[in-house]
Symmetry: C2
Subunit: 229 residues, 2 copies
Amino acid sequence: MTQLSSNVSNEKITIAVLGGTGAEGSGLALRWARAGHRVILGSRSPDRAVARVAELNAALGREAIEWASNREAAIAADTVVLTVPYTAQTATVEEVRDCLDGKILIDATVPLMPPKVNRVQLPAAGSAVAAIQDLLGDGVRVVSAFQNVSAHHLKDLEHELDCDVLVCGNDVEARTRVIGLIKDLGLRGIHAGPICNSAAAEALTSILISINMAYKIPGAGLRITGLPE
Amino acid sequence: MTQLSSNVSNEKITIAVLGGTGAEGSGLALRWARAGHRVILGSRSPDRAVARVAELNAALGREAIEWASNREAAIAADTVVLTVPYTAQTATVEEVRDCLDGKILIDATVPLMPPKVNRVQLPAAGSAVAAIQDLLGDGVRVVSAFQNVSAHHLKDLEHELDCDVLVCGNDVEARTRVIGLIKDLGLRGIHAGPICNSAAAEALTSILISINMAYKIPGAGLRITGLPE
């Protein structure tokens, strides 16, 4: 982590995107690679990973994105990003747990419960992401982000993203670093309080899905108002 | 309710604002009275109500706002609005319960737990407003709204409100009527799904408070993006 000590958004780092073959993870990988970061997709399926990496590198026009197993990706990375379905969240974290010490884990998990994904159904303990911070303890700084960003829009490099990213975490410095990485994606990250506040971002996803259904639009987002420019 | 059957926002109705002497309720009362609705503040404290009504009518420049007990206000009203602190929510609803049949109850309650109001701490069952719908049963259409609107800004009639209102409720027609009333305040109301989704709006209030603290601003709000004009 030493090389990161003064990094906010200018220094290039290695980012592992676990579940990176999915829509949200692919979009993040594509945009971080475009910004010059080294990006490794973590995947349990070599076939899917090979195909996705080829597709993303073709979109970028260069061989900038690699793939590896979730563990290899997490070991190689400075920062690890989790973009797996809710049902795979805990198992994936357990798989890489001993590779995370001292690192930041950005968790984009939304506890959607199909088929009623347009209804807020939070876990009994509140937030799915806060549960991971509890699981990992203070040695890993968990930061919640990206719950409300449309995967559809992320993957389209030409699309200007009209959505803020609520960033929750108990460590302000970790949140600040993540906000720097979010800037590299072309998005605005906002300090949204401690990790327990991730519950609001997670719940809001079901509201955005409700809005997409009610107004027949592809990807509602949110903007925070009242902030200085 | 017959006279309301085709009303969305043009017809003038009688609105009771329970807890209307508070900051949020006063701001709503002021703006609805300005739009031409008959507004009755419901209050348990005649002294406070007399003073608040005098102040609001002075701001309006006419005697447009009245006050009454919570029960009298609820009986006289077409639509009842609840803007009391979380600790008074259930008791206030119990007080007027038998006056609500067939009416819409707009509940603005946020389950803040002082002193840590910048931390999401939802009730065990999820949403404070959904709990009221459960309590009242299907005879009253509960609609959740206004959790994220700054009371400070509402009371300033000159302030253009840069915040959308997430509107949750199980009855689409009730939500549509409330969206009409929200338009009369100078705000945009948005269909945000069933009453259980109120959990997201309630939780979001603690995030907005966190943002106010982190960025030292008076009233962060939210806008939904991606909607047609």
